[in-house]
Amino acid sequence: EPEVTQTPSHQVTQMGQEVILRCVPISNHLYFYWYRQILGQKVEFLVSFYNNEISEKSEIFDDQFSVERPDGSNFTLKIRSTKLEDSAMYFCASTKGVETQYFGPGTRLLVL
């Protein structure tokens, strides 16, 4: 069964550094999402992306964040200058648009 994949599974970075989290959505899906989950808290929506542009973003998704679909298969989340509070599990999700969102296994980001 097709799956959403994410790399890396874990990333440790220093505060102020840039990180890029990568996702490969299911191949015929058209809608893409990033969510995050701070340890012990609920999953929060960050951004949705369709037709090569952002459809919706949350208040969390400020100017430090950006998303891109660089090559038709990858979907990336970039954090320009990481802060301690960016430490979280980041989930990518995708959907064809006629059924539910499928989630990837997540990337655990730790900012030191």
Binding site: Y31, Y33, Y35, V43, T95, G97, V98, T100, F103, P105
Partner: protein, 114 residues
């Protein structure tokens, strides 16, 4: 704006006992509703979803959920819990379109005693 409430932060049951996890939502119309399960350090696995039609929906692993419009609830049930069901359970609400973002509840941690 949509919101989801899971009033039980932590539930403990004995193996073989029945289970009900509560979920209430707030939304102007009938939204898409979901239950996801998350094992420690793992991703989110979809248990079941409600879009329309029959208000009792069956999911994987023997779970079911009932949508009650009058109570704005979507409670998850299982008649007999197994030790492997120990995990965190999240209720989520979408919008009226299944491409809308998901809003998650705070989760219920299920502990199962032998």
């Amino acid at each position: 704006a949509q919101s989801v409430t899971q009033p039980d932060i932590h539930i403990t049951v004995s193996e073989g006992a029945s289970l009900e996890l509560r979920c209430n939502y707030s939304y102007g119309a009938t939204p898409y509703l979901f239950w996801y399960v998350q094992s420690p350090g793992q991703g989110l696995q979809l248990l079941l979803k409600y879009f329309s039609g029959d208000t009792l929906v069956q999911g994987i692993k023997g779970f079911e959920a009932e949508f009650k419009r009058s109570q704005s609830s979507f409670n998850l049930r299982k008649p007999s819990v197994h030790w492997s069901d120990a995990a965190e359970y999240f209720c989520a609400v979408g919008g009226v379109y299944n491409t809308d973002k998901l809003i998650f509840g705070t989760g219920t941690r299920l502990q199962v005693f032998p």
